[in-house]
Amino acid sequence: MKKIKLTITVNGKKHTLRIAPNLRLLDLLRDELRLTGTKEGCGIGECGACTVILDGKAVNSCLVLAGRCDGSEIITIEGLARDGALHPLQQSFIDHGAVQCGFCTPGMILSAKALLDENQRPTEKDIRVAIAGNLCRCTGYKQIVQAIQTVADREKTP
């Protein structure tokens, strides 16, 4: 298969790569860039473990062809902490016991971030809708919803 050229910014860093046209964004991140915080749980867009933020929107990277992302900006879980300081959502997940096995956590946090970037005053329902595409088998979601709500509440009070 003929390779195609791709320029992509991941977590603020620009990469120019030659890739197979059928490469999924998920594989580009994991296999090529070794950003393994993005997980694969189903490969068909159902579990959300592969969620990343593509040009501001949360997407399932297992459903996106890498070749379509030329010129795009991507944020993965590895891009959230700044200079060793955790992102408020990351800290809140720890504080609320919202992490068990952790396999859903990166995708969950990125879906939450995409929500809060767009809607600073989400209701509980908004939060549940925003993470409805992120399956978690461990937590029953309650502490995850609380973790996200707490960050939202903190950010909206001036």
Partner: protein
């Protein structure tokens, strides 16, 4: 501060959360090694067939293929198994279900390996198959393994059931069935196998039970146990599910690594995982119960058959747990229970959070409501009047010598849920509505740890280093439940140091002796006790070193806040680190290994009785539902869950277990089913196999009950499993309350009843 209270009972944040929220935690799939090959599996094409030929030549010739292996290449034994050695990582003579492997391939990429698999030709002689365990036990049924299809039969016998029925005012007979369900850990199974230069085979993977996997791999590879090293990668959920199927993956990847001399990664896709990995047993349950008009249960006669699928796996133990608990947490003078486990050509079944209890709890708690209905007694009152109390004798003849808190759990949850009010107001309000509310409950008792299933013992090592840092190792594994955190809390508490000093070592069979499996909710009570003993062992050495300096005797010392001090004169103290230095300079070693054995228990298979478990936990869940009788949709509005954990060492972690277990129970009650048609899995990915999303679980309230138990560290017992066994019954009962329809089959697809056919599953994805 008392050393113990400084960390025990505190909701300290998880010690492994930071790497998980940062995305840097290393799960098995995140391991990449130089020269690593990728493996794929050629699966059976019939649920039951004799293999007549395998042609791999085309696959071998494909560019990029490094090895193709069949059963002929196995260096050691072809089988493994916890109880019965019948599981085959690569089938040789026959295939017994569609998840069986016939051949395996290692190649430079997954795509090449996949292509090679499609080039393998297998010839079969198709054999008659059987898919219903009750049929499988009839004479003349197709034999799946030599010696017949019965995997296990257990019984309990107490009193005289005929006499009990004769004294009863009414007799009720009911049948219930439960479905096959999938663990659905979000991380599918994965291993990476490679050889160390000294010839040791290393298998890193998403392992739940490193020692059972080591036994299987050693047997299969013909290597001594000492030359097989199983390392657990960060585990993306397990719930009982990553045991035998990880042995299978480990054997296959190990063999391919042997044949190629290179590291081999074998990752199951979600489809592979659902088709191949073992499941929770479907049960067929028949209950006959005799009761007095006042609700007193006089006798129970129970017969159930579990579908074991193609391999025995944990069926002998799962069915044993069912036989012990079959009557539920009630005083029943006369009991006769028989449980059978049978081979079929379905996907095999094994350990799954609950382990033979979600099935029976659904049945006996539905039955209790049916009895209450017949007698016109409130379901809560019926339970309270029959519930086990302190000192009572269980169905297996065991006297309960601890605090029996089933009534407490019933009261706490029903009060919080406003049970009495809702039981009467809902039916009135429902009359004019199409969305009907209902409230129902279920309670249970549950034997803690392995019970008389087998030897129950485990070990821990605690080491203090010269800089005052501490590491712990045990053979028990973190799988998300919070074991690393709780064990670190125990060690920190006993040594009087902050939890940050404690490091929990990677779980590796080469670091510590076999401490049994991380199952049966045994970690806290067994492993926690071992960690505590080991930490105390090290602390005693520090006290000896400090005593001289402080002019006191070691027995008078205590440790807290990084100080060692005289208990009655706390100003007389030295720093923790100084004590460490003193001890090391004095030639002591600051490490301690401790072993913890469970208190004695026994079981007689022949008589069907015994003291099955050394202690029990009790719980109750109340569910409120809303049923749309036009669409059949069931919304779980609210679940109240009370669980006696003995003592909550980390309340937040306990709550997390409760919420997660409730969500799993909701899925079991109304959503989940692995649909098998003639052995073919129809629900192969998460678009068809539906687990609860954040929209499917309603409100949840957890109530932690604490009745400290003499058997556990600090009085702690367990939590993980009981949380997942109650929602089936509670929701079924709530649906009955809402609609008047008694559904005796899980999952409750109300659409069948309401519309007369099954609704097409809709896509749930929001985005």
């Amino acid at each position: 501060m008392d050393p113990v209270t400084s960390t025990i009972g505190k909701s300290l944040p998880r010690v492994d959360a930071r790497e998980k929220v940062k995305g840097t935690a290393m799960y098995a799939g995140d391991i990449y090694m130089d020269g690593m090959l990728f493996a794929r599996v050629k699966r059976a094409e019939h649920p039951h067939a004799r293999i007549t030929s395998i042609n791999t030549s085309k696959a071998r010739r494909l560019k990029g293929v490094a090895a193709v292996a069949t059963a002929k290449d196995i260096p050691g034994e072809k089988t493994f198994g916890a109880v019965i050695q019948d599981n085959k990582p690569i089938a040789d003579d026959k295939v017994r279900y569609l998840g069986d492997a016939v051949a395996i391939v290692a190649a430079e990429s997954e795509a090449i390996a996949e292509k090679a698999v499609s080039l393998i030709d297998v010839g079969y002689e198709v054999l008659p198959a059987v898919f219903d365990p009750r049929e499988a036990l009839k004479p003349g049924a197709p034999e799946i393994h030599e010696g017949g299809n019965l995997i296990a039969h257990h019984m309990t016998r107490k009193g005289d059931v005929e006499a009990g029925f004769n004294e009863s005012d009414i007799i009720i007979k009911r049948s219930y069935t439960t479905q096959m369900v999938e663990h659905s850990y979000i991380e599918p199974e994965c291993v990476v196998a490679y050889f160390q230069p000294d010839g040791t085979l290393v298998v890193k993977g998403s392992h739940q039970n490193i020692y059972s996997i080591r036994s299987a791999v050693s047997r299969f590879m013909g290597l001594p146990l000492s030359k097989v090293r199983i390392i657990q990668a960060c585990l993306g959920g397990s719930f009982g599910g990553k045991d035998d199927c990880m042995s299978v993956l480990g054997c296959r990847a190990g063999l391919l690594s042997l044949l190629t001399g290179r590291p081999v990664k074998l990752t199951n896709s979600r489809e592979d995982s659902i088709i191949e990995s073992y499941k929770r047993h479907p049960y067929f349950l028949k209950y006959k119960v005799g009761v007095k008009k006042d609700g007193t249960i006089m006798a129970m006669e129970i017969e159930m058959t579990a579908d074991g699928g193609a391999y025995a796996c944990q069926t002998p133990f799962v069915t044993w747990r069912s036989v012990v608990h079959a009557t539920g947490p009630y005083r029943v003078a006369n009991v006769k229970t028989d449980v059978y486990g049978a081979y079929t050509n379905n996907t095999y079944t094994g350990a799954f959070r609950g382990f033979g209890s979600p099935q029976i709890t659904f049945a006996y708690e539905s039955l209790m409501d049916e009895i209450a209905g017949e007698l016109g007694i409130d379901p809560l009152d019926l339970r309270l009047s029959n519930a086990l109390r302190d000192g009572d004798i269980t169905a297996t003849g065991q006297e309960l010598d601890h605090t029996v808190s089933v009534s407490e759990a019933l009261k706490v949850t029903t009060e919080a849920a406003a049970w009495n009010e809702k039981r009467s107001s809902f039916p009135e309000n429902n009359a004019s509505r199409t969305k009907k509310r209902g409230i129902g409950l279920a309670c249970s008792y549950r034997g803690v740890a392995l019970g008389a299933e087998g030897v129950d013992a485990t070990g821990a090592i605690v080491r203090v280093h010269s800089d005052g840092s501490v590491d712990i190792s045990t053979g028990l594994v973190e799988m998300g439940q919070g074991l690393k955190t709780v064990f670190s809390q125990i060690a920190a508490g006993e040594l009087g140091v902050p939890i940050e000093r404690i490091h929990y070592l990677e779980t590796d069979t080469s670091t510590i002796t076999d401490g049994g499996p991380t199952v049966a909710s045994r970690s806290t009570i067994m492993g926690g006790a071992a960690v505590r003993k080991a930490a105390i062992g090290v602390r005693e050495k520090l006290f000896r070193a400090a005593a001289e300096k402080l002019g006191a005797s070691p027995q008078d010392l205590a440790a807290a806040d990084e100080r060692i001090f005289v208990r009655n004169d706390p100003d007389k103290a030295i720093g923790f680190l100084d004590a460490v230095t003193l001890a090391l300079d004095g030639g002591m070693h600051l490490s301690s290994f401790a072993w913890h054995n469970s208190p004695p228990i026994w079981w007689s298979e022949k008589e069907g009785r015994g003291a099955a478990y050394f202690t029990y936990v009790y719980g109750c869940q109340v569910a409120e539902v809303e049923v749309d009788i036009e669409t059949g949709k069931v919304d779980v509005i609210h679940v109240w869950a009370a669980h006696d954990v003995g003592k909550a060492l980390n309340p937040d972690a306990v709550n997390g277990q409760i919420y997660g277990g409730v969500a799993m129970g909701i899925g079991y009650a109304i959503l989940e089913e692995v649909e098998l048609v003639d052995g073919v899995t129809k629900t192969v990915n998460l678009d068809e196999y539906l687990i609860p999303t954040a929209m499917d679980v309603g409100m949840m309230d957890a109530f932690i009950l604490e009745n400290e138990d003499r058997c556990g560290p600090y009085g702690a017992k367990c939590i993980a499993e009981p949380t997942a066994e109650l929602c089936g019954g509670a929701i079924a009962n709530a649906i009955f309350h809402a609609t008047g329809k008694r559904l005796r089959e899980l999952p409750i697809n109300l659409e069948r009843v309401v519309l007369g056919h099954k609704l097409v599953k809709k896509k749930r994805r929001v985005r």
